[in-house]
């Protein structure tokens, strides 16, 4: 009898392991291939998302009031510094508006409707973050009913932070660019160097030790300097052109000395996200 129960336990463990592996494989495949998760999963996620808002609202409110008190302490200094920047910014903004208008008129003349730089923005609040060290994901409070689709780029503050990985009706998961997994989609980016040449490439990963994004396999001979700005190139479809990623922090050769490898300091603090913007391209 003792032997029987031991065998039965072993069988249960093995069956559980096999089922677990099967489920994991299937869900990874579904996540990579399909634009939305299965209907049951979507429904469940929407319900939990609603319950989460009830929990997250007081928690985020509390954290907001604490941080506003601490921000109040260095408001004076910040105000002085910001005043200087505002006057410069007004000038840039006016010029930007004029250029945008001129651009629109020129586009009308050559009968070009939408180019790679055009996108509309959906603002969303971050509800929660995945409590896991392997998946850097946040859940935002906008879903397919607001027009969010899988693989759309997401920005916060001044720069790119990640892409939409899973879309439910009323919430969606955003995979941050700090995520290092194999299946993460990479952004096509470009750098305009000081001499004016454009270098195209793809973001390839995240170096956790220094908090920098890496960019691999650059075979151009163009000289890339520290501080050159990296923006998305708009190649490959869903991502519009011209989203700011960060600045080049370090250049170096790759392990075999054949191509250049870049390290990019991200434009936004990726651990402090509250309001994000989903960029929707017109297709």
């Amino acid at each position: 009898m003792q032997k029987f129960s031991f065998n039965r336990r072993l069988v249960i463990i093995i069956v559980c392991l096999i089922v677990s592996f099967a489920l994991m494989t299937v869900s990874v495949v579904i996540r990579n291939k399909r634009s939305t998760p299965p209907l049951i999963q979507q429904f469940g996620n929407d319900i939990v998302g609603l319950a989460d808002r009830v929990v997250a609202l007081p928690a985020n409110g509390l954290s907001g009031s604490v941080s506003s008190v601490s921000e109040l302490l260095n408001t004076y200094q910040e105000n002085q510094q910001l005043k200087k920047q505002v006057s410069e910014l007004a000038q840039t903004k006016v010029r930007d508006q004029t250029l945008a208008k001129e651009n629109q008129q020129l586009k009308q003349q050559v009968k070009l409707n939408d180019s790679l730089t055009d996108y509309t923005a959906i603002s969303a609040a971050v509800i929660t973050r995945t409590p896991s060290s392997w998946q850097n994901q946040v859940v935002i409070n906008m879903g397919s009913s607001a027009g969010v689709q899988k693989n759309m780029p997401v920005m916060s503050g001044s720069g790119l932070i990640g892409r939409v990985a899973e879309v439910n009706k009323t919430n969606s998961k955003v995979e941050l660019i700090t995520d290092n997994n194999d299946s993460a989609n990479r952004f096509a980016v470009q750098i305009t160097t000081k001499s004016g040449t454009t270098v195209n490439g793809v973001l390839s990963g995240y170096r956790t030790a220094t908090g920098q994004i890496t960019m691999n396999n650059i075979t151009t001979k163009a000289k890339i300097h520290k501080g050159d700005k990296v923006v998305t190139s708009g190649l490959g479809g869903v991502t519009p052109k011209g989203l700011y990623v960060g600045k080049v922090a370090e250049t170096g050769g790759d392990d075999y000395g054949l191509s250049t490898k870049l390290y990019i300091t991200p434009a936004t603090d990726l651990t402090d996200l509250n309001i994000v913007t989903v960029a929707v391209t017109k297709q």
Partner: protein, 173 residues
Amino acid sequence: MYRLSKLRFGFPIGLLIMLLLDGSVSHIFSSQMFNYPTVMVSHLVVLWLVTAVLYEENVTMPLGRWAIVAGTIFDLYYTGIFGVYIFIFPLLVYVTRIMVTYISPNFLSGLLIYFIDITLVEGLGFLASRVVHMTVISGSSFLVNTLGPTLAFNLALYVILYFPIRWVYNWLN
């Protein structure tokens, strides 16, 4: 008298709140907890399950079933990879129940049991992520950068929350 006590509804509600608080804590303190390469992961839902086993003296609760429910929600809502925590959480309840039969539970032995449980959750979670290539981190850097800080954070939470949670259970019972 599980069927008649307030625990019948109180326990699942507490479980769901703890599960959602995990995400809120990770979000609010993300600049402290996800300070790469060092990562601290909050496991309040594990604390709720383990303390339920520790305080479970004369009432038996269907903890295994609720652990499966918590694991399902965790997988679907947080990670999006189904089939990891749905097995880890019930296993955790099973292992904790075995340990409780050997060590009589009190505050200090509970700390020891919780230490083993967190190691189990993080270790199995790491193995599963490695298998499906969600991570490429080596075992040694997992021990140093994730397991160590996570243990420290969660044991501190255990020390702080042990008596409040026991008070909640006594009130519900």
